[in-house]
C-alpha cells in the first residue's frame, strides 16, 4: 500500500517530522520541531542536534530503517526528545517523530497542542494532568474558604453569646426590681387576700422570667473555660519545645522569662493558644528565618481598653512579649493589627491577633503592638497579677448562716451601691427591715465618698455602675478601707478572673434570703 501525503498533511500527523538524505542532512522539517530548541533547519546535519543509541550514524539509520526499529532522538541542547520511526524514502529517510515533552507538565512550557500529532495520546494526557493540578489548587482554595467561613461563624456565635449575656444582665436587673418591690409590698400587714394573691402572681412570674434569663445565660456560655492560678513563666518554659516546633527550623527561639513565681488567673489552654497565635504570626513575618523571643516581666500598667478613664491607676501586671526579627509593620497595618478579619496575608483569616486581644481583655488585661518597617514586631500582652495565697471561698463560709429575723443584721453597717434607683430603694428598705444599718450610694463617686467618711462592715455593690465598675469600687474598699466583706451583685456572672477570691458574688434577680446569709457572720 502506498499513501501519498503532502507536507501539510504530514505536519498534522507528525508536527516534528524530518526528511533527511542518506548522509542525514536535513531536507525538510516539520513546524513543531523547533519549538523547544534552537534549530535545526534544512541544510543542517541531524547529528549536530540529536544523539541516539549508536555510534555510527549513517549505518545505524540504514539498519533502523530496514528493521522498522523504534527510534528515540535526544536533543543535544536540553532534555527534549522525539520518538518515532525512520521510514526509507527515495531521497533518504522520513523521520516520523512525535514530541516528548521535557516534563509532563504544561506549566511554564512553550509547547502547544499543534506541536503534537492529531492522534497523539500525549495531548489528552497532558491536559488531564493539568486539570488534575487545577483541581488540587481548587481543593486548597476551598479548604481555605471553609476555614475562613468557620472562623467567621465562630466570631458571629461569640457575638450572639455576648448579646445574650447583655440581654440576660438587663433582664435580670429588671426582674430584681420587680422581685424586691413585690417583697416590700408583701411585708405590709394590711393586705387583702386579693392583693396577696396578685403579689404571688408577680413573684411567680418573676421566677419564670428568671428561668428565661437563665436560658440566655446558658446561650451566652460565659463559663466556657475554667481559669486557674497559673505561674506564667513555668507554663511558657514547659511549652518551649512546642513553640520551637511551631516556629520551625529556620527560626531561633529564645526565652527571657523575668517573672518567676508570678501568677495570673487564666485558662492554661487559652494562654497557650494566645502565645501559639503570636508565634505563628512571628514565623510568617520571618519567611527567611530569624530570631523569636518570648519574654516576661512584671510591669505596672494602666489597663484601660476603651481609653475612657484617664485617671485609671496602674495595675501590677505580667507582660508577656513575643518579638520577631521580621519585616515589621507599617503604621497603617499596626493600627489595624488587632481588628477581626484584618490580615496582610493573601489567605489570612485575620482572627489571630483579634482572638488574642479578646482573650486578654476577658482576663482584665490588654495587648499592644510595637512595630515599624524593617525593625521586627513585638506583641505584648498584659495580664493582671493575682494573689496566689488561696483565700477562703466566701460563699461556702457563709452558706450556713442563722435564720432571718427582724434584727438579724443588727450592728452591721452596709454600704449599698446600686445605680438603678428603684432597686436601690427596694433593697435598702428590705435590708433596713432586717436590722442592717444601710447607707445608700447611686454612683461609684458617691460610694467612694461614703467610704472616705466612715467605716463599713460590708460593701454590697452592683458590678455595673453606669459607665463605671463596681469591681473597681470593691478593690478600693477592700484594699484601702478594709471592709470586712465585699459582695458584688449583677444580672450576669462576671469573669471570675476579675474578682478577688475573697469576695462574694450574688446573681440578680436577688434571692434575699441567700443574700442576707452571705451578709451575716458564719456561725
Amino acid at each position: 500500500m502506498t499513501i501519498a501525503l503532502d507536507s501539510a498533511q504530514l505536519a498534522l500527523l507528525f508536527p516534528s517530522y524530518m526528511l533527511v538524505d542518506t548522509q542525514l542532512v536535513l531536507l525538510q522539517v516539520g513546524p513543531g520541531l523547533c519549538k523547544d530548541m534552537d534549530g535545526p533547519r534544512p541544510g543542517d546535519n541531524l547529528i549536530d542536534y540529536f544523539h541516539w543509541s549508536g555510534d555510527d550514524p549513517v549505518n545505524d539509520f540504514a539498519q533502523i530503517a530496514a528493521n522498522a526499529e523504534f527510534l528515540r532522538l535526544t536533543c543535544r541542547q536540553g532534555r527534549a526528545q522525539r520518538d518515532g520511526l525512520a521510514v526509507p524514502v527515495k531521497s533518504g529517510y522520513l523521520l516520523a517523530m512525535n514530541q516528548i515533552p521535557a516534563t509532563f507538565s504544561l506549566d511554564g512550557g512553550t509547547l502547544q497542542m499543534s506541536d503534537f500529532g492529531m492522534a497523539d495520546p500525549l495531548v489528552p494526557g497532558l491536559l488531564m494532568v493539568s486539570m488534575q493540578r487545577a483541581l488540587l489548587d481548587e481543593s486548597h482554595q476551598i479548604a481555605k474558604e471553609l476555614t475562613a467561613e468557620r472562623q467567621k461563624n465562630v466570631y458571629l456565635i461569640e457575638r450572639a453569646r455576648r448579646f445574650a449575656g447583655y440581654t440576660a444582665h438587663d433582664f435580670n436587673n429588671l426582674l430584681s426590681i420587680i422581685k424586691l418591690n413585690s417583697a416590700r409590698i408583701a411585708q405590709s400587714t394590711a393586705l387583702t387576700d386579693d392583693v396577696r394573691r396578685r403579689i404571688d402572681i408577680i413573684q411567680e412570674t418573676s421566677v419564670r422570667g428568671s428561668e428565661i434569663a437563665a436560658s440566655l445565660m446558658t446561650l451566652s456560655n460565659q463559663k466556657h473555660d475554667s481559669p486557674l492560678i497559673v505561674v506564667a513563666d513555668d507554663l511558657l518554659a514547659e511549652q518551649r519545645s512546642y513553640f520551637e516546633h511551631i516556629a520551625g527550623r529556620k527560626i531561633a527561639v529564645r526565652q527571657d522569662l523575668q517573672a518567676p513565681g508570678i501568677t495570673v488567673l487564666a485558662s492554661t489552654s487559652g494562654l497557650i493558644n494566645s502565645v501559639i497565635n503570636l508565634v505563628t504570626n512571628a514565623r510568617q513575618a520571618m519567611p527567611q528565618g530569624g530570631t523569636l523571643t518570648i519574654a516576661t516581666a512584671v510591669e505596672h500598667v494602666v489597663i484601660d481598653p476603651g481609653h475612657r478613664a484617664p485617671a485609671t491607676p496602674p495595675v501590677e501586671c505580667i507582660a508577656i512579649s513575643v518579638t520577631d526579627s521580621g519585616y515589621g509593620m507599617s503604621a497603617r497595618v499596626r493600627r489595624h493589627a488587632f481588628e477581626p478579619f484584618f490580615s496582610t496575608k493573601p489567605h489570612g483569616s485575620g482572627m489571630g491577633l483579634a482572638s488574642v486581644l479578646e482573650f486578654v481583655r476577658e482576663l482584665g488585661g490588654d495587648a499592644q503592638c510595637l512595630s515599624s518597617p524593617g525593625n521586627g514586631t513585638t506583641i505584648r500582652i498584659h495580664l493582671p497579677v493575682v494573689d496566689s495565697t488561696g483565700r477562703p471561698d466566701m460563699p461556702q463560709a457563709f452558706a450556713a448562716g442563722p435564720a432571718l429575723n427582724a434584727s438579724a443584721g443588727a450592728g452591721i453597717s452596709v454600704l449599698l451601691v446600686e445605680d438603678e434607683p428603684y432597686a436601690l430603694e427596694a433593697l435598702s428598705e428590705v435590708l433596713d427591715s432586717l436590722g442592717f444599718a444601710v447607707t445608700c450610694a447611686a454612683t461609684l463617686e458617691e460610694g467612694n465618698s461614703q467610704l472616705e467618711q466612715q467605716h463599713f462592715d460590708i460593701l454590697l455593690t452592683d458590678v455595673k455602675l453606669h459607665e463605671d465598675s463596681g469591681i473597681d469600687l470593691a478593690a478600693l474598699a477592700w484594699r484601702n478601707h478594709h471592709v470586712h466583706r465585699v459582695i458584688l451583685m449583677s444580672g450576669y456572672v462576671p469573669n471570675a478572673e476579675l474578682l478577688n477570691s475573697a469576695w462574694s458574688f450574688v446573681q440578680k434577680p436577688l434571692d434575699i434570703e441567700k443574700l442576707v446569709q452571705m451578709m451575716l457572720p458564719s456561725a
Binding site: 509547547l111 495531548v123 493540578r133
Partner: protein
C-alpha cells in the same frame, strides 16, 4: 453545565459588586459550596437560574449578561489554574480557535456527561476568521460572541465579532481583528 462556570460567575459578581452580592445570590438560589465544584456537572436549569440572578444583580438583560460573562470567562480561565491549558491550546487567536475542539474532546473524556460545544474554523485569512459554533444547547449565542470578544482581548488584539449565517444546527461568526 460544569461547576467551573458557576465559579466564574461567582468571581465575576464578587469582582464587580463585592462578596455580599454573591452571598445574596447564593442565599436566594439556595446554593452553596456544593454547587461550585469545578468538574461536577449541574443541571443547565440551575446554571441559567443563576445566570438570571446574576443578571438581576448586575442590572443587565440576560443577553447582555451572557455576552459579558462570555468575555469574562476567557479572562477567568486565563489567569487561574486553568491558564496552562489555555496557553497549551493556542498562543495566538487562529491556533487557539483551531484547537478548541481538541481541548473540548479532552474535557469530554474527563467528564463523559458534559455537553461541550463545537467550534470549527470555516475560513481563515489574515485578520479575518469565520468560526462555526454548534451546540445541543440553545440560547447561548450572546455568550459565544462574548467568548470570541474575550479571546480578541486575551491576545492583545482589537477587533469585533459579527454574527453571520445561522441555521437551526449551527451559527457562524465573523471575527475581524488587528494588532492593538
Amino acid at each position: 453545565m460544569y461547576g467551573l462556570i458557576h465559579r466564574a460567575m461567582r468571581a465575576m459578581v464578587t469582582e464587580t459588586l463585592g462578596d455580599q452580592a454573591w452571598q445574596t445570590i447564593e442565599t436566594g438560589q439556595g446554593i452553596g459550596p456544593g454547587e461550585l465544584i469545578s468538574l461536577s456537572i449541574y443541571d443547565d436549569a440551575l446554571t441559567m437560574q443563576l445566570m438570571a440572578a446574576v443578571s438581576e444583580a448586575l442590572q443587565l438583560t440576560m443577553e447582555q449578561t451572557l455576552r459579558r460573562f462570555g468575555a469574562y470567562w476567557i479572562a477567568f480561565v486565563s489567569k487561574g489554574a486553568y491558564s496552562a491549558i489555555v496557553n497549551f491550546t493556542g498562543r495566538d487567536l487562529p491556533t487557539l480557535l483551531r484547537n478548541l475542539n481538541r481541548m473540548h474532546q479532552t474535557v469530554r473524556a474527563t467528564m463523559p456527561e458534559a455537553l461541550v460545544p463545537s467550534f470549527t474554523v470555516v475560513t481563515e485569512f489574515k485578520g479575518r476568521i469565520c468560526v462555526e459554533y454548534r451546540s445541543t444547547r440553545t440560547g447561548l449565542e450572546p455568550m459565544v460572541i462574548g467568548l470570541l470578544e474575550g479571546l480578541i482581548r486575551h491576545f492583545g488584539l482589537t477587533g469585533q465579532v459579527k454574527p453571520g449565517y445561522a441555521s437551526s444546527e449551527a451559527s457562524q461568526y465573523l471575527i475581524t481583528y488587528s494588532d492593538a
